[in-house]
Point group: C2
Chain length 454, copies 2
């Protein structure tokens, strides 16, 4: 009998609500804190930075389901549902009895899951009379998504891209420019935050924290017309990404399966939240026992080696203080190719879930991640983004474990994006020129010491 490989939903079956896990959590995540007053941020305060609807979602800890605006749903139909794929090729290559599935977010127009939230944020900005949006981007996945969403809703977009990625991945910059965005390598001389950093350290290669500072600063110059948007970390971004897991749940049902373990790469938490929270709901409410694994780079190990504390989301200290697992907002991650994972902290929801033992984290070295990426490319035909390879590597570890034990576990991972723009990284791997990076305990302690009295 022929085996079904891919599972799709009809346009009518695409979810109409995002899932807000905050409403179901027993221990609510702490809310963002005003650094001056040390009080939780109010809706008004948060709305100076973000679209008001996003700020409202950020603080919403009571409504489990939030309706997706019709205009956003119409644009979702351009690429959703994304396929849920049974990875027969990978299973065969690993000779594992495990059933491996992946949710293929790489088929979105911009090549990653980031569009799920970009469309929502751009829509809310437009609704509220905003004309300009700013943001930061690392590898450029979020920047591409926001540039395209801004174009669709008639907004001007200014993107600060981490300098190392701007140079490593020139095609991503071109894509943003093709969509009409203005792209600046960060740190730049165009903001106070950028100037300060370049003065202290003229060869600074950039970090997400620095680029956020620059984008926030630009947005704050005309807060009524211009809003800041963020591709991860914040709770409203996690909310928008739950469309991934909600679809996957229905699609797995079509396959007659339910996941034993779910894997996602981890930068700030957007795709992890997206694929995991809808399943985690059943752990919280119905006592299911699915395990959720965040796969972070060993070079930026906020969940496995960071501390839970109040910290800034950006390098210059412009953002609210966030209660989160962090390596310190001055932490400078090594220049790994998975630029989207080079962030010092984890979102507030994920941080609380980790604290409460509702999820796990593992770290993956760069070389292991690319090995997994190549294996996946050869067996499934899709070149994965360097970020996604971390989830694949974690899943491969478990599939190999299943081979030893004979367990037929159902494993699900999120393929956040394709790596077609990242072939230079694959070239380096194939040439044997990739390295692993692991920060020392001393380096991490030093950074955290700077943060502890915020």
């Amino acid at each position: 009998m022929s085996k079904q490989k891919r599972f799709f939903l009809t346009e009518d079956e695409i979810p109409r609500y995002w899932y807000n896990i905050q409403a179901d959590m027993k221990h609510k995540p702490m809310l963002p804190v005003n650094p001056k007053t040390h009080q939780p941020m109010s809706l008004d305060e948060l709305s100076t930075l973000f679209a008001r609807e996003c700020a409202w979602q950020e603080l919403n800890q009571t409504d489990a389901w939030i309706e997706i605006p019709e205009e956003v749903r119409e644009y979702y139909k351009y690429y959703r549902s994304t396929p849920l794929v049974r990875a027969y090729g990978l299973e065969q290559a690993l000779e594992t009895p495990a059933h491996i599935y992946f949710k293929n977010e790489s088929v979105s127009p911009v090549g990653s899951h980031k569009l799920n939230s970009a469309l929502a944020q751009a829509y809310y900005c437009k609704q509220e009379g905003v004309t300009n949006v700013t943001t930061e981007t690392g590898a450029g996945q979020w920047g591409c998504a926001l540039s395209y969403a801004a174009k669709l809703f008639g907004l001007e977009a200014a993107v600060y891209q981490v300098k190392i990625s701007y140079e490593q991945k020139p095609y991503r910059r071109s894509i943003m420019q093709t969509f009409g965005a203005q792209v600046t390598p960060s740190p730049s001389m165009s903001t106070r935050a950028g100037k300060n950093i370049l003065t202290k350290c003229p060869n600074h290669q950039g970090s997400l924290g620095t680029a956020i500072s620059e984008a926030v600063e630009l947005a704050m110059t005309t807060p009524e017309k211009c809003k800041y948007t963020l591709g991860s970390v914040m709770s409203h971004v996690s909310l928008h990404q739950t469309i991934i897991g909600l679809e996957a749940e229905k699609q797995l049902e079509m396959a007659g399966e339910y996941p034993d373990m779910v894997f996602a790469c981890f930068g700030g938490g957007s795709n992890f939240s997206g694929i995991c929270f809808p399943f985690m709901r059943h752990n919280i409410l119905e006592g299911k026992t699915t395990r959720f694994i965040a796969a972070e780079p060993a070079s930026c190990p906020k969940l496995t080696r960071g501390k839970f504390m109040l910290d800034y989301g950006d390098e210059a200290g412009y953002t609210p203080l966030l209660p989160m697992y962090t390596l310190g907002h001055n932490f400078r991650p090594a220049n790994i190719h998975a630029g989207g994972l080079r962030y010092h902290g984890a979102g507030t929801i994920v941080s609380q879930l980790k604290k409460d033992g509702l999820m796990e984290a593992v770290d993956v070295n760069q070389i292991e991640s690319f090995e997994a990426g190549i294996l996946f490319a050869k067996s499934e035909g899709i070149i994965p983004a360097p970020e996604s390879t971390h989830a694949i590597a974690a899943c491969v570890r478990e599939a190999n474990h299943c081979k030893q034990t004979g367990e037929q576990k159902v494993l699900l991972f999120n393929l956040t994006g394709h790596g077609l723009i990242d072939m230079a990284a694959y070239d380096q791997y194939l040439a044997g020129n990739l390295n692993n990076f692991t920060p020392s305990d001393a380096e991490i302690s030093m950074n955290l010491d700077e943060v502890k009295n915020l």
Copy 2:
């Protein structure tokens, strides 16, 4: 009411037969000719070069439907059906009353339609005990597809890539290498054909014709173990690509529409054949009046300015003589970014159809093609391959015409692939550095004169 944007088939609805238009053509295309005997090639003769099953399909002018092997259908499920998309965004941008649809072949694992035939050819080679395959590639779309298909079926692949593309598109080379293929820039010193060309012209930038010569020569060294594969031109390749149009027909039916005009970019004819032949069948058999438009680059205008005559498929003259529209096998097309369209001739079936007035051809300059590409990217979110932009440009012309006349025509084009690997070309366009190229009448005549006594 919500408008449906994308149409999919279930795995069970994916066609089980390819459509062989040769069987339904009133004037059959002439068969490939042995240059020594000037007789039509026999099955045995053709089988020294191609897999025997491909050679059989090449010569088959009687069976309208040829079954797709089950193993190939299983691999088709990895990405088929590809979506048929109603281009609401593009329609809105053009303010046209036309209904524009595109078949999105860019979602295949390797990013283009080329996999449809690569899987079939690799499968037949494997079945026949072949261990190695060779081929040429221009932009690299076909090379990537064959490299991946070879990997799936356990074959070694050697790819000669046109030098200008090898240099312009290094990521495509990396993708082929990631799949395990051996990639050589052509012309190379590794074959007699390559050496001869480099001796005459040391700075030769390569052409598809030259790369074919090299791949054919390599295959002929051990014909029992190694077969040559081709990504376009040949009738069996067109056959495999009809899966595109057969799906599109069912999908348009779901949308309650039938195309008035179908547009495809034109290099050797593979995607044109694929999307057009299933619809053309209804013109031939039932008197439908759909118009079929091949959009070729003005720099390589075989259909609009070439002559119908016997010519070689490659520069060195290793292939059979093909009865086709050609610019002469020594024609050196300008270095446009649409590397996949830089071929001197058109397949034998398309050439006969053009001669019989069953299809039309238009030429498109490079700058117009990129203008259309950018418009499409901004309105539909997908960056199209430089090849595909030619089909978009031709469709845009007609959509603009419909705006003038008020006609609500149904227009369908094939999006052969994405342009994510081609962002350097978009950069040049955005910087105003792209040029148009048009060969002079004298240049074309001179080349054709060399061919006329073959």
